[in-house]
Amino acid sequence: MDQSTVKTKRFDRFDLSWGFWVKVALMALINALGVYGLLAAWAAESYLTLAVVLVTLIIADVIYFSRRFIPAKYLFPGLAFLLVYQVFVMGYTGFVSFTNYGTGHNSTKADAITQILAQHQKRVPGSPTINTTVVEKNDKLSLAIWDAEKKAVLVGNMQHPLTLVEGAKANDKAITEVPGYQVLKFADLVKRQQEVAGLKAPLTDDPNDGFYVTTDGTKGFLAKSDFRYDEEKDELLDTTNNVVYQPNGEGAFADPEGNTIMPGWRVPVGFANYTNMAHGSDLAWPFFNALVWSFIFAIFSVVSTFAFGLLLALVFHDKRIRGRKIYQSLFILPYAFPAFLSTLVWKGMLNTKFGFINEVLLGGAEIPWLTNGTLAKVSILGVNLWLGFPYMFLICLGALQALPEDIMEAAKIDGAGPIRTLFSVKLPLILVSTMPLLIASFAFNFNNFSLIYMLTGGGPNYPGASLPVGETDILISMVYKIAFEGGSQNYGLASALSILIFLVVGVISYFGLKRSNAMGED
């Protein structure tokens, strides 16, 4: 064996083809991204993310740098994305649905306490703005203030109330020198902004006497806080009237009479969001109405668009029709337009007084297309038919073209007329191939938020109803209203509703697809 053969063999074994280098480059990129993610998660102290990224990264490296795990090489990217975009999102939504996350309860208890204390810290009325400076000793910050009466500089911080410092130098603009301390410049302060902003120099040991704070390091004033938090007892004291506020178990501090102080914080509430839907008196019936209407809307939309699309497909599939290519392209137009935009156009056309339909087509008849409950539902179904039939037309046309000619011949020989052929031969065959698409279309329409939102906005609202939910609201638009509209948000309740919608669509799709499979196997 001579040198060259060994070399070629080696070359084969290590497979240094361009494909290998592409793989190396890709993996390097993925690793770089992964490590960046790790560092970012570390910096944000988000250790769960860190763990997930680390595990994913290790698995990716093991899978792609090994010669084994061939199926995993294909499955891994899909699985990773499934985890991030589906499983995690669903899990998180489920988690939120068991909390009171929403207006006034959107953060942690520690945040809420900090914020309540800050909101109730006010300048003592009439207290003048004085010169202050931030000083440092052994890396600890203190606040130095210029006392105009005593003509002296006082220094203090949370641990040590203000005390006089002899020999400090100050002019009318600023305190320039404090013996024993280092005076910080603005640029140094900016680096420790959080510390400076939290700096308090109490007058005495009793915090009720007030404390000096600074807003920008160079100026300060005497402030007082109306609230004090007792860490051991876990209660807030309102020092103006000595009322004690304790956590009420629902994520807020409350006084004995039940008055709460906002902000509160997020707490788990168990199944409360779910039970509210069933027998929270004012949520139950809008929920029920929206549920029924969602089904009617989705089913009718699928059936009507399919029926109309099929009819057109049957007609324009016939080779005897002249210029059918032109018609076919025309029918696809509504599909080619962004639905979002055409819905808006329809909204304009259906305006009671100025809409094209009323003004031009109906000669000035002021029909309240979008403001009467029943008519609004009809309008929605109509507009959705217009938006949806081209898609059904396309798939039916495709399905018709795929039908084998010999079956039609056989039907003809057996003596079946065109109607009989349609219902007994063509339709069942078309349904087999389109059923999964019809189920997908049902799921899509069940959550067709943009149509409802752009066309009627869920309106008209029920006159005198206690929730601003409208007659044409489907579940998903109702979720949107609860979660985001108005000023008060309830993400917990909205998540619970989303989970329910997911269950409904999931169950229907499961049984629907199962059935269509069964039909296919016949």
Partner: protein, 416 residues
Amino acid sequence: MRRGISIAAISALALTMAACGSSDEAKEDTQQPAPAQSAEGDGSAVAGELTIWADDTRSSQVAELSKDFTDKFGVKVNVVQKSESDMDKEFISQVPTGKGPDLIVLAHDRLGSLVSNGVVGTVDIADKAKDFSEAALSGVTYQGQTYGVPYAIENVALVRNNQLSKAEPKSFDEMLAAGKEANVEYPFIVQMGDKGDPYHFYGFQTSFGAPVFKQDDKGSYTTELTLGGEKGEAFADWLAKKGNEKVFDPAITGEIAKQAFLDGKAAFTVTGPWNVSAFREANMDITVLPIPAAGPEAAQPFVGVQGFFPSAKTENQLLVNKFLVDYLATEEAQQKMYDLGKRVPAMPAVAAKISDPDIQGFSEAGKSGAPMPAIPEMSAVWDFWGITEVDVVTGKQQPKEAWSTMVTNIENAIKK
């Protein structure tokens, strides 16, 4: 293969290092102090930068203003454009995670919900308070605490097409009569839409003595509803009557009202400065007047205060204070903000220098106005209020009953 692995691993590592290295460099870059001098003039440059959220119409103005701030204080400012309708919701959900901006530019009526969510920080402007108008200050004050610095006041007013009428009507009926003399399609037009528009209708409602919430002696809103009762029902009756006469119509949306006025089809309209600039651009001859009273009392439109509000969790507390107190609360910055945005300034001293008749007209119309309530309870009001107005105008519901049902519904919604 073994060598394959090590080669790959080494290259991967090298690339990672390169990636980290570059990202570190990038970080250092941003932290590098701006070259300008700091305000103290001590020559030391300032590290750090500010992020401000503003909506699509204001972000360019704020960006211009920020350049000026950067020149003066050497602090870089990033202005991020957000959608007007949900920037407050985004702010509420992002601040607790520490990701939000340092400052947000908003109308003050969202302040209450920001406060009750604990996402907005406090500001001390006691020393500069006297420079601002009372209305502007009350807009950024909530339960006795100051949360921001105002820069402009905004309210609707009556806008007259001078080619169609020269009247200066004191009452709604006078205005209608003057409009009818002009012999156009709409003597008076105001936007409504199928969800109602309590904001544009508020002046008429207050002239019946039915403001939305009760104000205490300090002018702060309480949660006690005052839009119902006899006075409120009188307003509802009037709405039904005018609806019957087709003066109000839910088919008239903001766009339709604006276009009709632009086309000279309407003698009078109630609208805000945002549309008046469009009328000016179309070279219309218009005059801005106070809103005429429909009932026995004076018409008080809502006055909105535009301001800069700090995040509760900003890491740049000192820079934020520098921006708000040492920069924005000066006449110079307020004048600049006026030049950029053309809204009634929050400082009377700046407002006094303005010669633009439209701005003066809005300022005059807003003098009698009432600040928009910032209490979170307000969010429970809008939907019911607007829909009920529509139902009354279209005759779908009887005015008195509709109005009292609405009050009950709002009360229940507030209790929750």
